[in-house]
């Protein structure tokens, strides 16, 4: 079976700094995959290059066996994207944003409106559907962003930090929608640094550190006997210096 996402030696440098140093990301079809790594590990850069938003300096990326940079029409029809930050057309209302998105992708207007209505309902955004996106809260923006990414029923969904800054209620909605989506055999790739969340949701995990994949596979294999959090800390080589005696001696109540 062809993997949903497969990159080979993906490489990107910004000025002097190498952001991604040869990433071989693999995500099997139908998995709920987590891309984890500390800040600055290159998660966002990798996802941007895999979705055709950022041109790599080297390497290749394939979606369902199709080259992202050589076959953009087929690839773009297959993927849905929620990039980092909350970059949306601010001056459209939620509903308008969805219909703009659907029409750009050539879905007939009537169909777009039907799907938009259902998505708004599932995302619990019906009350705010006619408000401008600029006035949305973080949770609402993530939800409308996800709705926009799902509108054309993509095979693979790329989400960059979808749960960051989202309240528990909205997070729960996002989770349910995503679970339903992967249950039907579609693939989700999302980046996060909340290990508990990844452990709970994902069946596949790729760990990134300093621009490279340091571990990848079914979550049970990567984790082994440890918790995912401990496995992660071991993998990225974090030194546990928080409990040391030296330094920070002034912190806390002083005994006189």
């Amino acid at each position: 079976m062809v993997d949903s996402v497969r990159t080979q030696g993906l490489f990107k440098r910004f000025g002097q700094q190498v952001a991604v140093a040869g990433v071989d990301l693999v995500v099997p079809r139908g998995s709920f995959a987590g891309l984890v790594g500390p800040n600055g590990a290159g998660k966002t850069t990798t996802l941007s290059m895999a979705t055709g938003l950022l041109r790599p300096d080297g390497g290749s990326a394939e979606i369902d066996g199709l080259n992202v940079w050589r076959d953009p029409i087929a690839v773009k029809a297959r993927i849905g994207v929620l990039p980092e930050g909350l970059r949306l057309f601010e001056r459209l209302s939620g509903r308008e944003l969805l219909s703009y998105n659907g029409q750009l992708r050539g879905i007939p207007k009537a169909e777009v409106e039907r799907r938009a209505e259902e998505l708004l309902k599932v995302m619990d955004l019906l009350d705010s559907a006619d408000k401008l996106v600029v006035d949305y809260s973080t949770g609402m923006r993530k939800k409308i962003g996800l709705a926009a990414a799902l509108l054309h029923n993509p095979n693979v969904l790329f989400l960059d930090e979808p749960f960051e800054g989202v309240d528990p209620v909205s997070a729960n909605t996002l989770e349910e929608v995503l679970r339903r989506y992967t249950a039907s055999g579609s693939t989700v790739v999302f980046s996060s640094h909340v290990m508990d969340l990844v452990e709970r949701l994902c069946d596949w995990v790729s760990v990134m550190s300093r621009g490279q994949i340091v571990a990848q596979g079914p979550i049970g294999e990567v984790r082994g006997e440890r918790s995912l959090n401990q496995a992660f800390l071991d993998l990225v080589g974090a030194s546990g210096g928080g409990g040391d005696e030296e330094g920070l001696s002034w912190l806390g109540s002083t005994q006189a």
Binding site: T51, G52, L53, L54, R55, P72, I73, A74, V75, K76, A77, I79, G80, V81, P83, G85, R87, L88, F89, E90, R91, L92, S93, G94, R95, E96, S99, Y100, N101, Q103, L104, R105, G106, P108, K109, A129, D130, K131, L132, V134, D135, Y136, A148, W250, S253, T254, Q255, A256
Partner: protein
């Protein structure tokens, strides 16, 4: 005894002063760190500030050569202009300076008075405040009379400087909560348009010959402004007598009063809730707009979105309002000019200039979409989509500009004296618009730059992109000018029937421009996306 040792002691006034000045200098240095273009930009700013300061100082001192009363009049007007400028400019440029927003400092253990002193010092630090201080000091050379005048002059300059600072602080602080809300910023962005209009005012006055005698006009204006606080400072300096002393005493009191008001406003601003989370407005999303008339698809989507943006985005509103206002002023002032050319040129010329003004807005078509453009990027899989996108933008702009230029043509031809001239004027301006669309499509993909969210009257591009923005708009202007010569020139020289060809010619250029831009733009979409997504 167990206790918390914080290890800090309260800051004295001098320490506070030093701290804030250092903070401001650090902020300036931090802004230019790393990025070479920013460094170069900042060096240019410094050179400009030094140049302006030197030139301003010289100009102010040269006033001495004029008769004493004229010199005083000029001084009064200059001081008032500085004062108003200082109060308004930081507002329009809110966010250029991190020390401006007291909310950022509210968590530090500073007394309001310390905060006030610190903010005062911080806002006096920087190339531009110093440049203004130097220019103002030029007035001492310019029109102070006798030793008393010089002594009074020094006091007057310092008081004027302090007055400018506290007033501008008072204005920004009282409005700061409003400025942090989305609506407030939207409103202010549109207010920037009045600055554009204001800049046209002298032009208008001179062109219409409203004044008659400029010296008399100057005297009249100065006579009124003389009673404003900055006018008093200038007057005291020129006067040099006891009246001057009284005026300066009044100014000193005023500075203290405004200072107190400012401290009060600061105290309130620090404890008042942020209003930016207020409920947003609700729009009618099931539009029955123009998009419904178009065949379902990409084109309709882009046209609908562009028309909404022209109306809802402050930058869109400002762009269109500016074009309308400047063209209107232009038509009005050209028509009043009795000596210049006559005939159809009077109708066609302004219409064409209007078309150029509007067309230049399409010279960076993706700038306003900015960071949201990824949404198009993940949907577009071919050059054809890119062309359709540009066509949608052009169609939307034409839907607004077409009727506008028609109206302008009718108005200018009425001014010029023959309604029949409106027909060639209309046709030629529409053609020119088409040409500018074609050129603009190409510059949009070759020289894309970010249009800042927070539009201000000074920069049209994100930090570090000024050069590209300049190249883009200059290229668009030259290109449009050159390519429209074949139709515009003969029409201006009286071969008006040729204007029939203008519209098909313009459409052909627009089509060719989209074709070229589609190919270039699709190939470098990631770079385009990066260029319009710069932080502002």
């Amino acid at each position: 005894m167990a206790g918390i040792d914080t290890g800090v002691s309260p800051l004295g006034m001098a320490d506070t002063l030093r701290l804030f000045v250092r903070l401001k200098l650090k902020l300036i240095a931090g802004n230019v760190r790393g990025d070479l273009t920013r460094k170069i930009g900042y060096i240019f700013t410094l050179i400009a500030a030094v140049f302006v300061a030197a030139l301003g100082f010289l100009a102010m001192s040269l006033v001495r050569l004029a008769p004493a009363d004229l010199a005083a009049d000029i001084g009064i007007i200059a001081f008032t202009v500085f004062f108003v400028g200082w109060a308004v400019v930081p507002l329009l440029a809110f966010g250029l300076d991190d020390t401006l927003d007291p909310a950022r400092l509210s968590l530090f253990p500073l007394r309001t008075r310390q905060l006030a002193v610190g903010l005062f010092a911080a806002s006096a630090t920087g190339p531009w405040p110093l440049a203004v201080l130097i220019i103002t000091a030029g007035a001492i050379v310019g029109f102070a009379t006798g030793l008393g005048g010089v002594l009074l002059g020094v006091a007057a300059v310092l008081l004027q400087f302090a007055l400018c600072l506290v007033t501008s602080r008072l204005v920004t602080t009282s409005l700061s909560s409003m400025l942090r809300s989305r609506r407030g910023r939207d409103l202010l962005a549109v207010a920037a348009i009045f600055i554009v209009l204001l800049a046209q005012l002298p032009n208008l006055v001179i062109n219409r010959g409203l004044a008659g005698d400029p010296a008399a006009l100057l005297a009249q204006v100065a006579e009124v402004l003389r009673w404003t606080p900055p006018g008093m400072a200038a007057h005291a300096m020129a006067d040099g007598s006891l009246t001057g002393v009284a005026e300066l005493a009044f100014l000193a009191v005023l500075v203290v009063v405004i200072g107190r008001l400012w401290i009060g406003a600061l105290r309130r601003a620090l404890v008042t809730a942020d209003a930016s989370t207020q409920a947003g407005s609700v729009r009618r999303s099931h539009g029955r707009g123009i998009g419904r008339l178009l065949p379902d698809g990409q084109l309709a989507a882009v046209v609908t979105k562009e028309l909404k943006y022209a109306r809802r985005d402050p930058r869109g509103r400002v762009g269109w309002l500016a074009s309308i206002a400047v063209t209107g002023v232009l038509a009005f002032s050209l028509a009043g000019n009795s000596e210049g050319p006559s005939g159809p040129v009077l109708a066609i010329g302004p219409a064409c200039l209007g078309a150029l003004m509007i067309g230049l807005q399409s010279g960076n078509a993706f700038g306003i979409d900015g960071r949201s453009l990824w949404m198009n990027a993940v949907a577009y899989g071919s050059e054809r989509s890119m062309r359709t996108d540009l066509a949608g933008r052009h169609l939307a702009a034409a839907l607004i500009a077409g009727p506008l230029l028609a109206l302008l043509s009718i108005v200018t031809s009425l001014f010029a004296g023959d309604l029949a001239w409106s027909v060639p004027a209309m046709l030629t301006s529409w053609g020119l618009l088409g040409v500018s669309f074609g050129i603009g499509a190409v510059t949009s993909v070759i020289f894309p730059y970010t249009t800042p969210d927070r539009l201000n009257a000074f920069t049209g591009a994100a930090p570090g992109q000024g050069g590209i923005a300049f190249l883009g708009s200059f290229g668009a202007m030259i290109g449009t000018g050159a390519l429209s010569l074949p139709v515009v020139l003969p029409v201006l020289f009286g071969v008006t029937w040729l204007s029939v060809l203008a519209v098909p010619y313009g459409m052909a250029v627009a089509w060719a421009g989209r074709r070229l831009a589609g190919t270039i733009g699709f190939a470098r979409f990631p770079e385009l996306l990066a260029a319009v997504s710069k932080p502002t």
